[in-house]
C-alpha cells in the first residue's frame, strides 16, 4: 500500500483549529525539533525550535502582532524568520544573517502542513472540515497505516455513545472512517497521520459535518479505543 510519504512530502502537524492566532506549539518529526506558530494576520509559520541567540526553544515563546518572540531575551522574529528586534538594543538593526531557519508551512484543508522538501509541489484542493482532536499514539506511522488498511477497526460499547467503524477510503493525505453510533447517528471521521519518530505518531482528526456534543464525545471515545487498539497490536 502507498504511504503518505511515497506520494507527498507534506506532513500534517496540527489541526487548524488547534493553532489559534497568537498560538505557538512544539512539533517533532523525523528527528526535527520545530516550533509552529500563527501570527495575528492568521498566517502559519514553522521554524527551527532553537533561538540563534542562546539556544532557547522557541516553542516556549509568545506571539505579538506578526512576530514570534523568544521567551528568554525577547528577540523578535518576523514571518521570514529574520530577527527584527532585539530588546536589549532597540536602536540596532539586526544583521540579515541573524535569522532562524524556516520550513514551508501552509494552513490547508483544516490542517497545518509542513514539508522538509523545498521543492514540494502545492497540496491539492481538499475540504476544510472542523477539527475534532489530535491524539498521540505510541506506534509508527507505517504500522498505523497498515492497521487502517487491514480494515480491522475496534468498536466501542455504550448504550448511546457506542460506535462501530469501517474505513471508507484512503488517500495520500488521510483516511476517511464511517462511524455508526448506537443512537442511529452516523459521522465521517477524517484521520491524518503525522510521524513523530520511529515509535510515535499523531493522529489529527476532523468530522466532515458539524456535529452535536454527544456525537463528538462518541467519536472522541472511539478515537481513544483506536489508540488503545493500535498500541496493543503494535
Amino acid at each position: 500500500m502507498n504511504t503518505a510519504a511515497d506520494i507527498t512530502s507534506w506532513l500534517p502537524v496540527a489541526l487548524s483549529d488547534g493553532l489559534p492566532d497568537g498560538g505557538v506549539m512544539r512539533v517533532q518529526t523525523a528527528g526535527h525539533d520545530l516550533a509552529l506558530w500563527r501570527a495575528h494576520d492568521h498566517s502559519v509559520h514553522c521554524v527551527d525550535n532553537r533561538c540563534p541567540h542562546r539556544g532557547m526553544r522557541l516553542s516556549f515563546g509568545f506571539v505579538r502582532g506578526n512576530r514570534l518572540n523568544c521567551i528568554y531575551h525577547g528577540w523578535q522574529y518576523g514571518e521570514t524568520g529574520a530577527c527584527a528586534y532585539i530588546p536589549a538594543h532597540p536602536e540596532l538593526t539586526p544583521p540579515e544573517s541573524l535569522c532562524v531557519p524556516t520550513l514551508p508551512c501552509v494552513d490547508h484543508g483544516g490542517r497545518v502542513w509542513i514539508t522538509l522538501d523545498p521543492d514540494a509541489t502545492a497540496l491539492p484542493a481538499m475540504p476544510a472540515h472542523p477539527g475534532l482532536r489530535s491524539v498521540a499514539v505510541n506506534v509508527s506511522q507505517d504500522r498505523i497505516q497498515a492497521a487502517l488498511g487491514s480494515g480491522a477497526l475496534p468498536s466501542t460499547t455504550h448504550p448511546q455513545r457506542g460506535c462501530s467503524a469501517r474505513v471508507l477510503d484512503t488517500s495520500a493525505f488521510d483516511c476517511r472512517i464511517a462511524l455508526d453510533v448506537a443512537t442511529g447517528d452516523t459521522a465521517t471521521l477524517v484521520v491524518s497521520i503525522q510521524s513523530v519518530s520511529a515509535e510515535r505518531s499523531q493522529l489529527h482528526t476532523q468530522l466532515t459535518a458539524a456535529a452535536s456534543v454527544e456525537l463528538k464525545v462518541a467519536a472522541s471515545r472511539w478515537l481513544d479505543a483506536l489508540r488503545d487498539h493500535l498500541e496493543a497490536t503494535a
Partner: protein, 283 residues
Amino acid sequence: MTSPDIAQDDWYPVAIAAMLTAGAEQRVTLMSHTLRVTRDAAGKATVTDDHGTARPVCEAHGHVWSSIGTPPHPIFSLPEGVQDGRRLVDCGPVRVKASPLRVVENFLDIAHFPFVHTDILGAEPHTVVAPYDVEIRDTVDEVWATKVSFYQPQAAKSASDGIVTEYEYRVPAPCATILYKTCPPRPAEMDVIALFVRPLNEELCDAYAWMALFDDDTALEDLIQFQQTIFLQDRSILENQVPRKLPLDPRMESPTRADKTSIAYRRWLKRRGYHYGAETRGV
C-alpha cells in the same frame, strides 16, 4: 572532547555547612563520583569517595567544598562573607537539568530580566542594556563585569519601588559566580548574592544560592522564597536551552553587546581548557 583533569581539580560545594551537623552523613554526587560527607563531634568535616579514600575538604562561604582531584589552590576568597553586619542566608540546592556552565552564564545575564523575571527584576519597556565594562583580571584569573545597571521594578525583597540597580559580577571559578548589587537600605554598600554549582555530570547540577545581605528586617523565609522564585524561573529556561552543554565555538550562538560578560566567560573557559559541561564541537 572533554578534558576532565582541569575541571576535576577545582573545588565544588558538597554541603551547606550549617546543615551538616555533628554526626550527620550526606551522600552527594560530584562529576559522577559518589562522595560521603560527614562531620565529627569535634566539628571537623570529612569527605570520602566510594573507595573510602579521603578527598580534599574545606569550609568557606557557608558551604563545605571538596574535589575529586587535587586542587592546586585554596578556594577563592570572598571577604564580604565575613564582613560585620551582613546577614548570611543559605538558599539550599536546586537541581537543574543543564550544564553547570549554562547555569553560571544565566546568572551573569541581565537582558532576560524583563522576560523571565517579569515585574520582579525587570519589566517592559525597560529592556535596554546600557554599555558596561568586562575584563578578565589576569592577576587573579577571574572574570569581572562592572558598571552594569538595569531598571528593576522590585530589585530585592527590601525594595518596594522600581529603581535603577547597579551591579558587579565576578566569576572566581568556572562553577561559582558572585553578584554585587545596590543595597536599598544601605546605599554605600553592595548586597552579595552568590551561586555555587556542583556538577553531578556534564548536563545535570545542583545550584546553591548564598546571600550576604544588609537586611535585618525581612523574614528569613521571605528572603529564601524570593530567591527560589527567581531561580525556578531561570530553571525553566535552563532546562530548555539547546544544546544542554555550553557552546564554546562562537559561531554556534549569536551574542550581542549585552552579552559581553558571557562572551568573556566562554573565552576564559576556552583559554583555561575547562571543557567539562561545554560543547566543544567546532573549537
